[in-house]
């Protein structure tokens, strides 16, 4: 979306400049060309410099639940989607599939993208 509008903008601006330069020699038409060239150029430049505000809202990143085994020697870790009634440090009913120890919710979080601007 952004790329297309930028490209269009460049084309508009370029044709505007071309019309400005190679306008008609007829005095009446040269005025018309002059105005047309200016309008095209301003429209084009607006398109190029505008920061696509109409971009669609991204859905928020999914919330995940990280479950870890309570046994300090065991490294079992499970990450699944957040479920209602999950909370951090909630003891899980399920046992660790590796060593049969109890498990606890270690974290509930989202991974947000680094804003790059």
């Amino acid at each position: 979306m952004g790329l297309i509008s930028k490209l269009l903008g460049i084309i508009f601006a370029a044709s505007g400049i071309a019309i400005l330069f190679f306008g008609s020699s007829d005095p009446v038409w040269s005025i018309a060309y002059y105005i047309l060239g200016l309008i095209l150029m301003s429209v084009g430049l607006t398109l190029v410099t505008s920061r696509g505000e109409s971009k669609e809202r991204k859905p928020p990143p999914p919330t995940v639940t990280e479950i870890r085994c309570d046994n300090p020697e065991c490294t079992f870790k499970e990450i699944r989607d957040f479920q209602k009634a999950d909370y951090i440090l909630k003891p899980m009913e399920a046992q660790c599939p590796k060593c049969q120890s109890s498990m606890t919710i270690h974290g509930i979080y989202v991974v947000r993208e680094e804003e790059s601007e």
């Binding site: 005095p27 009446v28 928020p60 009634a85 909370y87 951090i88 909630k90 509930i108 979080y109 991974v111």
Partner: protein, 386 residues
């Protein structure tokens, strides 16, 4: 050239003698008129443009307000009251206000403010338990938070609308200008709260909860358990008594996993009073607003009470620390507004080990064995278990 157009030009030429065949004069006149118009009405055109921009923001704010109200309705109606009653009651409650105490006579203002805040909280709890009779305590607390977010969005919308309408009605430049200048900031805040609604409605932990989380992790490391947690030393606040390297640490936090911040300031005061002369240090852990450009989840430390209440709690902490000559220090985790009220960000969660390391360093360096220490985790405990 088409016949009609030719006639038009000929007509203009007849109207303006002396311009025959030469349009430079006409262009000059057009430019002159344009410049005069701009200098006379430029400001008005600018105002019109600004009003349009405010209007666009207002439309967005209205959408957020409507969606959040709908979400609140959807959340509340799961707890036993029919939808039409919920809608009616919520509409009545959305502009609930609190009148700040008079500050012309500052003596005792914090006491009065505290009293008002207590009363406000009571009314909220009463309202929520009436509107959601089937919910349990932690659900009620999350519902309270949902309600508060909805209220904030409603308030923002109404205030912006007020300035927009006044500006439009009076054409007052200063009215339009000040709201237009603040619009980007207002929109950012509104968006942060709007995104947070999902967290509150579903009971997910938020960025502001990092303080209680750190304290609980720390307590767990030294043998604190949900069973050893001492409940309600002040409103919705309790602590784990734990032993760290020969010192006794009271690891204090609001009681989760419902959404509450409790009254940790008064809890600290109570602990100090109960252990007269034995508390050697108070360490507060809280989320703090980061500056734009700073890293999310950066840990930083300093002196003072890290707590962002309207005043009474912080005052209680500072007062009791001063009276008893107790060192008070703060460890904060930097985050932005959106992260503070939104679902806990991974980068903030990842800062927990470093904060715990800093707490240990502080305890080892600045207290001696046998001392008693208060470690207070400040923040909203939604989604953070004991």
């Amino acid at each position: 050239m088409v016949k009609g157009e030719l006639e038009f030009f000929e007509m203009i030429q007849m109207q303006l003698p002396g311009l025959e065949g030469d349009f430079t004069g006409l262009i000059n006149i057009v430019f002159l008129v344009f410049i005069i118009m701009m200098s006379l009405y430029g400001a008005r055109i600018q105002m019109w443009q600004w009003l349009k921009q405010i209007e666009a923001g207002l439309v967005e704010l209205e959408r957020m307000k409507k969606e959040s109200t709908q979400k609140a309705i959807d959340t509340f109606k799961k707890f036993g009251r029919p939808e039409d009653e919920v809608v009616k009651e919520l509409a009545r409650w959305l502009d609930y206000f609190t009148i700040m105490p008079v500050d012309l006579d500052p003596a005792g203002i914090l006491k009065r403010l505290d009293h008002l805040l207590d009363e406000r909280r009571d009314r909220f709890q009463e309202f929520v338990s009436e509107l959601a009779p089937e919910g349990i305590l932690s659900e009620h607390q999350s519902l309270e938070n949902t309600l508060e977010v909805t209220q904030v969005l409603d308030l923002v919308y109404r205030v912006v609308r007020h300035f927009y309408l006044i500006g439009k009605k009076t054409g007052s430049q200063i009215m339009i200008m000040q709201i237009h200048m603040q619009m980007p900031d207002i929109m950012r805040l509104a968006k942060a709260y709007f995104d947070a609604l999902d967290a509150f409605a579903e009971g997910k932990p938020i960025g502001d909860g990092i303080g209680p989380l750190v304290v609980t992790r720390f307590a767990r490391e030294y043998g604190g358990t949900p069973d050893s947690y001492v409940h309600e030393i002040s409103r919705e606040v309790g602590y784990y008594p734990i032993e760290v390297e020969g010192r006794i640490v009271y690891a204090l936090r609001a009681t989760g996993p419902g959404g509450t911040v409790g009254k940790p300031g008064f809890a600290v005061k109570k602990l100090v009073d109960d252990n007269k002369g034995k508390i050697a240090r108070i360490i507060t852990v809280d989320a703090a607003l980061k500056l734009e450009g700073e890293d999310m989840g950066r840990v930083s430390e300093g002196t003072g009470a890290a707590i962002g209440d309207p005043g009474p709690e912080k005052h209680a902490m500072e007062q009791t620390a001063t009276e008893n000559d107790i060192g008070i220090e703060a460890i904060v985790i930097k985050e932005d507004e959106a992260a503070a009220v939104g679902v806990l960000d991974k980068r903030i969660l990842d800062s927990v080990p470093e904060v715990i390391e800093r707490i240990k360093t502080s305890i080892l360096k600045r207290t001696k064995p046998g001392d008693k220490i208060i470690l207070a985790g400040i923040g909203n405990t939604i989604g953070i278990g004991l």
